[in-house]
Symmetry: C3
Subunit: 320 residues, 3 copies
């Protein structure tokens, strides 16, 4: 059972959006191209498109994330959908059959799309296998597996600032091991064909055999940032600061925090990215977060457009 199979319909069109892994370059590029029209809509007086009119979108967030949920809610409403927000308690009872009972019930209400976030890897995929033909599933983060819409908004952002992707050196810095964002980014960068993907992290925060993903590994940040065109900082989860994975906050910042000085190692026109919310002074210096090379807020703006693009596409809109 390959994820690719279930994400596409019999004509090869996008049907669910579950993982970057398994999707080919033309699909990723179509999402990015389609998103451009939604970026211009965000600047119009009336930000409303009819693509999801009369559809019911359920934001099914087993993990709480007001921020990500809000971007999907805004995207869906701008596409004229009716939106239902649900935060089922992730108790032990919301597992296995009981999760599917929840899904069955929501699907029986003639809903059209589930945006699913869950603490367990593979949940969105499992739901996609379970629902009937007409229901669409979008993965808004599943455990430490993937967060594919985040990766696509990152790719969109990179293309806007650095259109010649095949020439780019991109560095991802931080807790690669636990990051679904990093995993999706690596797959996307690789599929879209950048020149070089680097990961910069202490050994404790790298997956085993990470090199097999086609990345170059750096433990020293100055070395790793050398001449890169794009720096993607990951958010540090403070709860990992327990000595097992991470040293103290100060020590982490000393070794892997992005400072103005360190930024000088990168190409002079390098852009700085972060999925947010940022921990100022932990993984990134405040001055860098707000500097001209930072495109962190542009990522947020692009996130709405990219999510609208994906939602419209899986519903049958915007695919040539």
């Amino acid at each position: 059972m390959s994820p690719a199979d279930i994400q596409l319909d019999e004509n090869g069109k996008l049907k669910h959006f579950l993982s970057i892994e398994g999707l080919k370059k033309p699909i990723l590029q179509a999402i990015l191209d389609n998103a451009k029209s939604f970026i211009s809509m965000g600047e119009r007086r009336i930000k409303k498109a009819p693509f999801l009119r009369g559809k019911t979108v359920v934001n099914l967030f087993f993990e709480n994330s007001t921020r990500t949920r809000t971007t999907f809610e805004i995207a869906a409403k701008r596409l004229s959908a009716d939106v239902i927000n649900l935060n089922p308690r992730t108790s032990s009872s919301t597992k296995g059959e009981s999760l599917l009972d929840t899904v069955n019930n929501l699907e029986a209400m003639s809903t059209d799309m589930f945006v699913v976030r869950h603490g367990d890897a593979g949940t969105a995929n499992m739901i996609a296998h379970h629902v009937p033909q007409h229901v669409r599933i979008i993965n808004a983060g599943d455990g430490q597996h993937e967060h594919p819409t985040q990766a696509m908004l990152d790719m969109f952002t990179i293309q806007r600032y650095k259109p010649q992707m095949h020439n780019l050196r991109v560095a991802i810095v931080g807790d690669i091991l636990h990051s679904r964002v990093a995993r999706s980014q690596i797959h996307a960068l690789s599929t879209l064909g950048v020149a070089e993907i680097r990961v910069i992290a202490p050994k404790t925060l790298l997956p085993v055999a990470v090199e097999t993903l086609g990345v170059r590994v750096f433990h020293d940040m100055d070395e790793g940032l050398k001449d890169v065109d794009v720096i993607i900082m990951l958010r540090v989860q403070r709860e990992r600061m327990d000595g097992l994975f991470l040293p103290s906050e100060q020590e982490y910042f000393n070794l892997y925090g992005l400072t103005e000085k360190r930024l000088k190692q990168a190409a002079p026109d390098a852009v700085v990215m972060h999925p947010g919310p940022i921990n100022r002074g932990l993984e990134i210096d405040s001055a860098v977060a707000d500097c001209k090379q930072s495109v962190i807020l542009a990522q947020v703006t692009n996130g709405i457009a990219v999510r609208m693009s994906i939602m419209a596409m899986v519903m049958g809109g915007g695919q040539g």
Copy 2:
């Protein structure tokens, strides 16, 4: 003060929907007939009707029930209403005058309909007596009194599978004593004129003098299920498993759980219903919940259509 009086306007049209008791067969049948058009809407590409456009519906849930609230929210949005979800804390201060102050305030905001769930019997009725002429009240469950929209979606489901209602034997199984659903179902089945209504439960879970409602009482499940056409399982509240009302979970399942073997006592084409959420392995075996005779998910689908029907009707739509 008869509930019938307040539920109908001077022309005998449905105005509030508070209880099945007190409503005559033509009204119940009109709700069911009207719901058919909304069932077909659920299958259309654009699930949107204009009946409540420019109206404000307040989901006023003093008791938490994401599931039921969601069905009303979806129904109202598909009717083009603006929906406000409120979960006032059911503290001691939300009683008596203070509850009416809440209602007064919401009504002063020019809202049009309240969908009310409350732990105290009679709350929706009291509110209906209190609000001005143009405001509509729908009871989404009041204490152990009634849950009339649930009963109507059950009737709709029965009619879809068993159109000849006057020939039917229907069994309701479980905690009749504490169930507002059962109370509404018995009234509805009785008004619509089924051949026989049975209740199957241990003595501790039956209201005193339940026979006066026109039901046949069975304490033995195999006996009670004999040749019935419809089996309605009730949800067991685990908090009743304290020895006072119910024996252990295992013992309950042994005596009153619906298994494949027990199902064979019923007519071969009997349908199995449950208001959800189901407790698999407590009141119903997983295999039965998912078997071909189970119409539990159809109930959910029908619930949206029936609630749309009722909401449209009390607002003046769909009544010939």
Copy 3:
């Protein structure tokens, strides 16, 4: 940096609505005049105007207030906006830069208006200084500073019942010291030019040098109510009943509770107002709250219209 500067655009039109202080009479009167059209809309079958269609309004409530948030939500939806409700936890981390990071992120989602409630005075103002040109800010209460939409709905209510404002004597009764509502009301009454503004309170509940605001101070309620045309009762915060600011509840009611007997001190056609929710038997007798002179529920109705008026105006609608 005067608040007046930032609330108006270069043509003197209302752009943000942050405080009554700093706004001139023509602006306040324009809000009130504009609100009249929305009052009549509240009585129409279809309560929907297109002024905010395709706009995204964020209710950003750092302090919880379901009631006030609901009025803004209803107002925005009737203006056809998409509405996002957010209740960021007011932890220590939601201060300073981190608050601005939240705002930056929401603004980057191409949102158009923030309705802000926050426990710290000046928050809405700070945000208004921070956001880009096209974003509008409405203050829904900032600490003990101002609650300007509440004051405007109060002015609207007064004008409806007492059109000759320049002849009016208005008394505000209760905890003036801690009340953002009172502060906004005093500025509004003063700008609109009523004949006399009185405040009635114990010394412990009056700001230092309150007379400099142009009010007459009374500690004795019977004296203070003598011949007034409008009585505005403030809500007593029970948590102030700690002996420091307030005596016991009974003693407070004896001294400053509005009873039928005390109401007789006022002009025979005086109206009684209260921002709600009322504490029956604490600051106001139940009989007075529900008497013919009480316009408390009219205030709620007017609140929707006035908030629609302000929202439409800051977005460029309704300013001649």
